[in-house]
Symmetry: C2
Subunit: 501 residues, 2 copies
């Protein structure tokens, strides 16, 4: 009966396999590849990506999707077949809108831009980077036009990471988040910060590696379905739902990098691990958006990983691994140290609260770039002014300012807001989890992390990419995206940690 659906499924299985092969090329490049492999690796990745793209945009697939659409027309929206056809059509349709030449130019310009950025950041030389940035923005504007008509020129960019999400929905959410964080951070600025000295010192690499391994071993991810490796910029990637590659890095003078980075990446990995097996090798077989993915990493990093029960549970391991360094640190001290707020220059080093302000700043600058209110040349000035206004921080040079992130160098516009979205969604999920799992704190304190994971799997993970973000939020919470739970819980935590009235 559903003959075209079967063929669609088969074609997307091959597309998925090539995507996974590309993921392995990526993982290997960043963890194992000898430097001599770099040039050939770029060609290998480009070829696999090109062939994957050809399969995705082929006329035959488009025709099969049309026929499959008729076959599933009576089925419920979230049946496996209907979702396959809908999401397949979306991905293929988006890919077919972009001319081959523009796509090649976007790829080339991103690669050239990233190389130029490395040097520009080293020398804090925005002028040297500007022509590349202008080129990337110009190409991204052309890309946006492929999706005309649109409600807002930023929408097509956002949609690549958050299917179906519109700027008009996202902007008020982030504004409410910023408006809520402002007064909270002002109160914290006047309070006595917790002492986080125990996180700084000299932590031998071998001990940190052991800590990271033990943290992972303690999490509810089957040992035969993941591995942990070192890299420069940590990430997690699924070569298959049961073949997860978590990576981390170690900073000998700060133990937090290893600890929370591992939990963060493991959160991503658990999401992929929880997708229903029947969705594998399809466009539904992974997390539904970058924002939702980040909600999982943030939930494990911040709401589990910086909680009193978890850190109480972890402390014996920390002591065991580092010996004397933690002998006199108690669980309460560790918990307070883990939750110190400190406005800073660099996004990737920011605490859980001020991090969102870094993102909102970038989001608003990006939107202005695509409405035409701002040109790339104006970015440093706008950046520095916002850092002063929003975070009260003076930017000493562009290396520590507008040049700090690789995203724009690689042409990734619309990506940044997914980080803050992740925090917002994690806040909503965490409030819900605490309500529905009344024993959660006690379970975590006892090292029982499985119930939380099962709850996440049942409510979110197993559905893969069958729903769009807005639908999933509605299904989970009965309402829309909402920063209030995040704000409520941050307020409660800091009231405790900072002993606010």
């Amino acid at each position: 009966m559903a003959e075209a659906v079967g063929q669609v499924r088969e074609r997307f299985a091959a597309i998925s396999d090539l995507g996974r092969a590309r993921a392995l090329l990526f993982w290997d490049e960043r963890t194992k590849m000898p430097p001599g492999g770099a040039e050939a690796r770029a060609e290998q990745v480009a070829t696999v990506a090109r062939i994957r793209h050809e399969l995705l945009t082929s006329e035959e697939l488009a025709e099969l999707l049309r026929r499959a659409g008729e076959e599933v027309s009576g089925e419920p929206r979230d049946s496996d077949d209907a979702a396959l056809v809908r999401v397949g059509l979306r991905e293929s349709g988006k890919a077919r809108r972009v001319p081959v030449e523009l796509r090649a130019e976007l790829t080339r310009s991103a690669s050239v831009g990233e190389r130029a950025w490395v040097g520009a950041r080293e020398n804090s030389d925005f002028a040297a980077f500007l022509p590349h940035l202008e080129r990337n923005v110009g190409l991204a504007r052309e890309y946006v036009e492929c999706f005309a008509p649109y409600e807002h020129p930023y929408d097509p960019l956002l949609d690549d990471y958050e299917p179906g999400m519109r700027t008009a929905e996202l902007r008020p959410v982030l504004e409410r988040l910023r408006d809520g964080l402002g007064p909270l951070l002002a109160r914290l600025a006047d309070a006595q910060p917790p002492d986080d000295a125990c996180l700084y010192g000299s932590f031998p690499l071998g001990a940190q590696q052991e800590l990271a391994e033990r943290i992972i071993d303690d999490l509810p991810i089957p040992a035969g379905e993941r591995r942990l490796d070192e890299t420069v910029h940590p990430f997690a990637v699924a070569i298959a739902p049961s073949d997860l590659r978590i990576t981390t890095r170690f900073d000998v003078s700060y133990v937090g990098t290893a600890l929370w980075s591992v939990l963060h990446e493991a959160g991503h990995a658990m999401y992929e691990n929880g997708v229903a097996p029947e969705l594998a090798r399809s466009p539904l077989g992974h997390g539904l958006s970058l924002g939702f993915h980040e909600s999982q990493s943030r939930l494990w990093e911040n709401w589990v990983g910086r909680s009193r029960p978890y850190l109480g549970h972890l402390l014996p391991t920390v002591r065991d691994v580092f010996g004397d360094a933690f002998a006199s640190v108690d669980a309460e001290q560790l918990y307070r140290a883990a939750n110190r707020v400190r406005p800073s220059l660099i996004r990737v080093e920011a605490d859980e609260a001020t991090y969102n302000l870094h993102i909102i700043l970038r989001f608003e600058l990006e939107v202005a770039l695509f409405t035409g209110e701002l040109e790339p040349a104006d970015l440093p000035e706008a950046w520095n002014a916002r850092m002063r206004d929003d975070l009260g921080v003076d930017v000493p040079d562009d290396a520590a300012g507008v040049l700090q992130d690789v995203h724009w160098a690689g042409g990734a516009f619309g990506y940044f807001p997914t980080y803050a979205l992740g925090n917002v969604i994690a806040g909503q999920l965490w409030e819900l989890a605490r309500a529905e799992l009344p024993e959660l704190d006690a379970q975590i304190a006892g090292g029982e992390l499985e119930p939380l994971r099962e709850w996440l799997r049942e409510r979110l993970h197993r559905h893969g990419a069958k729903l769009e973000p807005a639908e999933m939020i509605e299904r989970l919470t009965g309402g829309p995206l909402d920063p209030a739970p995040l704000l409520r819980q941050l307020e409660a935590k800091y009231a405790d940690v900072y002993s606010l009235a």
Copy 2:
């Protein structure tokens, strides 16, 4: 001008990239992949292989090759363009001869056969394996018929590994090798064998790993172009000519596994590393045949690695790594221990001399299977009889006999003789190298391995797959394949080690 040649080159570049991606999937599966990835990995490998095959057999490529053939018709046979078109045409033409259904069946049957073999070998149950073997032989016979007319039914199988080589050429070479080895081994059987006790004992894993790393560091392979990892069945694979993956395994009770296995795999890696950069991403960008590849691994393993000068050079490292265990072993003892001959049951554990008899036995049984003189059911009896006649060894059960190798389970017929060919070619090359590099022994004794590597690169490696085996042998030695140099050098060595008259 050479417009079709350019397009041929581009298409083979993509085919090569997919082959390299498949090589990474293979390497990762055997060194890094969590077990949970196995099922998805099989699909990924199959998809990448299928798409590569589709590109290789496409009508467009066949047409381009025809046009390119005209463009290069006036060029010398070993010009880059002429060789590209000739070897490209050969690969594409061979692939196009085999119906898609037969190829799928060969792949499927190999995979089922390998799984069945694991269990059959464990239980030494040839009867359980027989139906799979019969199926594999039947399919391989069908495969052979795709290449009719042929001089000998074994030729098409052999040709997959040794381009252009015929059974009629190979058989007398192997017969002369066996006829030469017989009397030599008989003399050794009557002589006092060297004491190799120093190779057996208890060698901590960490120390063996260090030895392996130091052996590799000492070889003339750039540090930024290779890595060493552990696996179950050692292999080497090139993800690119400057991205080499050497693997090894360790046996805590026998130090020779690590030592000579590392040199063996490094020999393969150096071959790939030496191919001229302009041949990369083409069907010319790798070693020219399995036999020639094996000649490189054997040359480094046996002719360098078991030589008096090399072992004298290595001994301080061995002592440094293992401490007391080698404190009282001198270079002469180590050299003699490394060259003990001992007829045995298992091919992969055989010494350098008797190894060839294991191969010749398999070769002759394979040939008989394809001429129809032998049926799969008759293999155990034939095997055991030959083991008694050729090696003087009684086979206690099929697990230690006909079931010991995976090759037939995986449908790989025609592969075995390349091992013995490797020894023959290594013998010819080694005799030549010693004649052309008069300081070779002194260089090796001083740890200078670069001159040998340069000689091999200049004479062999840089040409990649531009020539067929017979042409290359002729160019190197001025004559045909010849087992005499191997026999001469084995005789000289054993006369020394065994103090024969």
